[in-house]
Amino acid sequence: MTFLSLEPIRVLLYLVGICAFVGANAAYLVLAERKGAGRIQRRPGPNEAGWAGWMQPLADGLKLLAKQIMVPPGTDSLLFRLAPLLVMAPPLMCLVTIPFGENVVARDLNLGLLLVFSFGSINVMALMLGGWASRNKYAIISAARVVSQNVAYEIPMLLVVITLLMMTGTMSLQEITAQQAGGFWHWNLFKLWVNPLMPVTFVIFFTCMLAETNRAPFDMAEAESELVAGAFTEYGGMGFGVFFMAEYANIVVGCCLATVLFLGGWQSPIGILSSGAWGLLWFFLKTYALILTVIWIRWTFPRTQFYSLLNLSWKILIPLSLATLLLTGAMMKLPLLWRALS
């Protein structure tokens, strides 16, 4: 135990653990995605490789690994190679500070939330670099779209997070989780006495998370029916595979964050049984429920048009999130003012 508690060993273990988690998770979320799409369209999905297709990710991975990584002539070869790494690194960094359980967190930073959002925005830059380095018109159009989309959606997301910060008063994700102990009525989602619009903020957060991770119906980055594959057009083999993995890793980070911020993290919904392994169980239960919702949404709604995507953000989500911000501020501070005056 003393060996395991050494700091370098601990960091190394978490690093390996997070990498393995992200890799396996991406592989099996692809399968879950295809299975989910199948169910919704009333077909079985991949079912040939292994029992019910559970070996499909292995087959996909082998296929991608076996392919040659092409750097097309005329591209900026350094940026072209760098972009997949840059797009993969931020979600790995974000997972460092996510509390998976009572004691399962790589680093409980007191500015954890800030770290997640600052690394989260690098993702956009990496996608833009990938598109730019490709020297391909589809990729560049996609890069421009990604930037304007992410700029538009980061604002309501951060406004919602500010609302939460006003409530919690801390940026440490572990502390935010600890504040939501004792049953689901203590979760931030249901703290209606602080702000009756709390469920609305959750919906805003979730929508922005979908847009930030470039998921359907907001998958403007990889609009395969209009932009070939968007920023990934020139990528093949594992280069493409890494972009794909990063998309799923981003979804996991987004859903983990939504779980921590709104659904009580590893706290159990009934108030008991939230220590140790139970905490892990609750955390993953909530996170995967959100991830499955993301998949469900993808196969329900068609891709929006770009202007309606921006309209949704600037005309609906930003005013709404500003309103919740104001309301929360008013509800928190007006009683104090009242007391001071009387």
Binding site: G36, G38, R39, I40, Q41, R42, R43, P44, V203, W296, I297, W299, T300, F301, K315, I316, L320
Partner: protein, 186 residues
Amino acid sequence: MSLITAIRETFLGFKSLLVGLRITAREASRPIITVQYPRETLKMPARFRGHIKLVLDPETGKPRCTACTLCAKACPSGCIVLDGVKREGDKKKSVSKYELDFTTCSLCGSCVEICPSDAIEFSKEYNVVSLNRDTFENMDLYAKIEAEARAWSAAHPAPPAASPPPAAAPANPTAPASQPLNAPAG
């Protein structure tokens, strides 16, 4: 005023999204309708038109065909060639050769319609495939009905007085026509 409209529209829009989600959830909970083709096959509907085949009389175990050649005459593309012999003990002629050129057959059904003894019908075989053209140019329907007759007589042990079903076919140059995997028995 327009603020209220905007809020109303936002609310209605969100509601419609939920309706969409409910629809996909409902579809996802319904059973899968994919047929795993090589392992499972669909049963063809009653009016499906596969290539024609001769009909075995379920009582005598012999082909109903009397080799009247009306079908060959009715065929607009002339793709039926048949012949019949009068076997001893029988009053009528019976078929002894029946070849269909399936490459020119348009499945119009004139032969089925005109047959006076209901001896031809559409088979329900839809997954017919072969590596050589000859399989379809000379589809030996007589060989098929022969095989069926043999199966019939194996299933019905001969009563003492009845004559055995016709043995070796006189005109049977090609091997039995296409034998597709998992052909539906219908």
